[in-house]
């Protein structure tokens, strides 16, 4: 029975990884940039939710749209200030710019609010129940389902709306897209905004049960990078399934051997996959 629990837990956490991974993949698909600061955007959203809760008593689930909007704005800002100028840069420069943001945001939060962990103890999703011997914890389940809903929304937006299709065009071939009247600059900004917004929602969902501290983004989101790489950079669907797989592999692997080794399985999976398919399972180029 405990194995079923392990699998369920892996799926739930995998859904949140999936959401985070999708945002990451979105930027890469459009601009060929890996945003190393993706986890930090999640962390900032978590802090925002915390202060909204501490100051105004807002439940993180209520703050989620606020976090999404705020992070969307931040994403666009980052694009305009930094990312736009990286389009022609080398891969190394791009990596370093986003990595610099990672360091900067972590230190910024540390500078103002120290490194101690904060939590939001009681919120709307608190509580737990069991179904047939399986334990579901309210916050985590809500996070998983919320992530799924957001992922579906994102997917729908990209594939079923005109703007989404324009985004895909800009990703596919910027020059042709421009000829067809797509403003690629705005599409790139949109990609960053969307990416930040979705990871902001993930942050709000996780704020209901994770401890909030400067390193939470880096720690928690690292498997999401593996998920994107496994699914293949540039493929949102790949990122989604990659997230689920990573969640499962991590939880099951850690349970079977020892929890300290759970990330080993994730890394091993990455190496196995890229050695066989160097562009991930569904990656572009």
């Amino acid at each position: 029975m405990i194995y079923a629990q392990v699998v369920v837990d892996g799926l739930i956490v995998g859904l949140v990884f999936a959401l985070v991974a999708m945002g990451l993949s979105l930027i890469y698909g459009v601009m060929n940039i890996v945003n190393f600061a993706h986890g930090e955007l999640m962390m900032l959203a978590m802090y925002l939710c915390y202060f909204l809760w501490a100051g105004f008593g807002l439940d993180p689930l209520v703050s989620a749209p606020v976090a999404a909007a705020a992070m969307f704005a931040l994403g666009v800002l980052i694009y305009r200030l930094v990312a736009r100028h990286l389009l022609e840069s080398s891969m190394v420069a791009q990596m370093f710019a986003t990595f610099g943001m990672l360091v900067f945001f972590q230190a910024l939060v540390n500078f103002f609010w120290k490194a101690d962990a904060r939590t939001i103890p009681d919120n709307w999703s608190t509580g737990h129940f069991s179904v047939g011997g399986l334990f579901f914890n309210g916050p985590e389940l809500v996070a998983g389902l919320g992530a799924l809903a957001t992922a579906v929304a994102l997917f729908w937006f990209i594939n079923r709306t005109e703007t989404g299709l324009a985004l895909q065009a800009a990703a596919e071939d910027p020059q042709v897209a421009r000829l067809l009247g797509v403003n690629t600059d705005r599409m790139y900004a949109l990609a960053w905004g969307l990416s930040a917004a979705t990871v902001g929602v993930a942050g709000a969902l996780l704020a209901t049960y994770l401890a909030i501290y400067p390193l939470v983004g880096a720690n928690w989101a690292l498997p999401a990078f593996v998920a994107v790489a496994i699914g293949g950079f540039g493929s949102i669907t790949g990122a989604f399934w990659g997230g689920i797989v990573i969640g499962l592999v991590q939880t099951v692997g850690g349970f079977l051997t020892s929890p300290s080794y759970k990330l080993l399985f994730v890394y091993a999976l990455y190496l196995l996959i890229v050695l066989v398919r160097p562009h991930g399972i569904m990656g572009k180029r």
Binding site: Y28, V34, F51, L52, A54, G55, F56, V82, H85, L86, S89, S90, M91, V92, A93, Q94, M95, F96, A97, F99, G100, M101, L102, V103, F104, F105, Q106, A107, L108, N110, F111, F112, W113, K114, A115, L222, F225, V226, A229, F233, S258, S260, Y261, L263, L264, Y267, A268, Y270, L271, V274, L275, P278, H279, G280
Partner: protein, 351 residues
């Protein structure tokens, strides 16, 4: 024959010679341990940055997992010294063998990857090793290995144990020697046939392969040399700090620091990593020692009732920690955004 193969002019040799001379007499000018320590650490990172640059700058393979080799050196030195009382003077071949083996085992599969996939592979492999090391009881797991302090009887005994209680000078000159060796190795490779081949690998790997060049072999050579220097630095570190544990040796933080000094200064240039190391390391050390702590002392905060502003202020009181990292991050962003060729790019000189 390309320009790179011509012998260096005398003027071009004078500047490096002068700099090395200054470094050589520095410890006689700054006799306190802390300033010496700063330059020792700068030299260490300059060495590792230059070594990284052989793979990253010359061969174009950006690795964010070099701390792995640093850790191999540090742990080999620590383990052998603690359990067999054999210092790095004796055990360096062992460390180099392990390092070379690791480089080959890692390089063979991962050099088939390109772009981000390679970089991520280097990170993930290093992280995997970190997890193993942090859980391996024989290596002290999370605690690490403490090298026993030893009171040498005379200077020969001290040299054998690499334990110099009273003076940092032996460490200083050892670091300087490693540094000069790394520079020499870099320059030698760059102006040799190997350098040309690595340039081909870096710029047009597919074309080179189609011409029959065994790119894998040359990438491996670059990696092995790069790893060797990094491992020696790790051994140095173990004997210098006398305490080896996973986070300060085999972690992502260290990997990034190594890569960053090279990228900041100028990837692919001879002096880039040195410039990077001598700017970044003293800056972070001094900031942390004299500024960060002062701000973090701050004032005590008392929590008032309610209001987001009150919470913000309460939590802000006593903040100010990590200002060195804040500035470090800002510099990284600015350099990457404005001058991705590194600081040396400002002078448009690619020596």
């Amino acid at each position: 024959m390309s320009a790179a193969a011509l012998p260096a002019s005398r003027a071009a040799l004078a500047i490096p010679a002068a700099l090395i001379a200054v470094l050589a007499i520095y410890p006689w000018l700054a006799t306190l341990p802390f300033p010496q320590h700063i330059v020792i650490m700068a030299l260490l990172f300059a060495t590792m940055g230059t070594a990284w640059n052989i793979l990253g700058g010359l061969a174009g393979q950006v690795s964010f997992g070099h701390a792995l080799y640093f850790g191999i050196g540090a742990y080999t030195a620590a383990y052998c010294y603690k359990h067999f009382a054999l210092s790095a003077l004796v055990t360096w071949p062992v460390a180099l063998v392990i390092s070379t083996a690791a480089a080959v085992v890692i390089g063979l599969p991962t050099f088939r990857l390109r772009g981000h996939y390679f970089v991520l592979a280097s990170v993930f492999i290093m992280q995997a090793v970190y997890i193993v090391v942090a859980n391996w009881a024989a290596l002290g797991a999370g605690i690490g290995i403490e090298l026993p302090v030893y009171k040498a009887k005379d200077w020969i005994d001290a040299a054998w144990h690499l334990q110099f209680r009273d003076s940092k000078l032996p460490f200083y000159y050892a670091a300087l020697a490693l540094f000069v060796a790394a520079l020499a190795a870099f320059e030698w490779i760059r102006s040799s046939r190997l350098g040309l081949l690595l340039t081909a690998v870096r710029e047009e790997e597919d074309a080179a392969r189609s011409l029959g060049v065994d790119t894998m072999r040359y990438k491996l050579v670059a990696l092995v040399i790069s790893a060797a220097f990094t491992t020696l630095c790790g051994m140095f570190y173990a004997h210098y700090v006398l305490y080896v544990e996973p986070v300060s040796t085999t972690s992502l933080v260290v990997s990034i620091e190594i890569a960053f000094v090279a990228i900041f200064g100028g990837i692919g240039t001879l002096w880039g990593p040195t410039l990077g190391a001598f700017v970044i390391i003293p800056m972070t050390e001094l900031l942390r020692a004299y500024v960060s702590g002062r701000i973090a002392l701050g004032m005590a905060g008392t929590l008032q009732d309610g209001g987001a502003l009150a919470y913000l202020k309460y939590y802000a009181a006593g903040g100010g920690g990590q200002i060195d990292i804040l500035i470090y991050g800002l510099i990284i962003i600015l350099i990457a955004r404005f001058q991705p060729r590194g600081v040396l790019g400002f002078f448009r000189r690619l020596d």
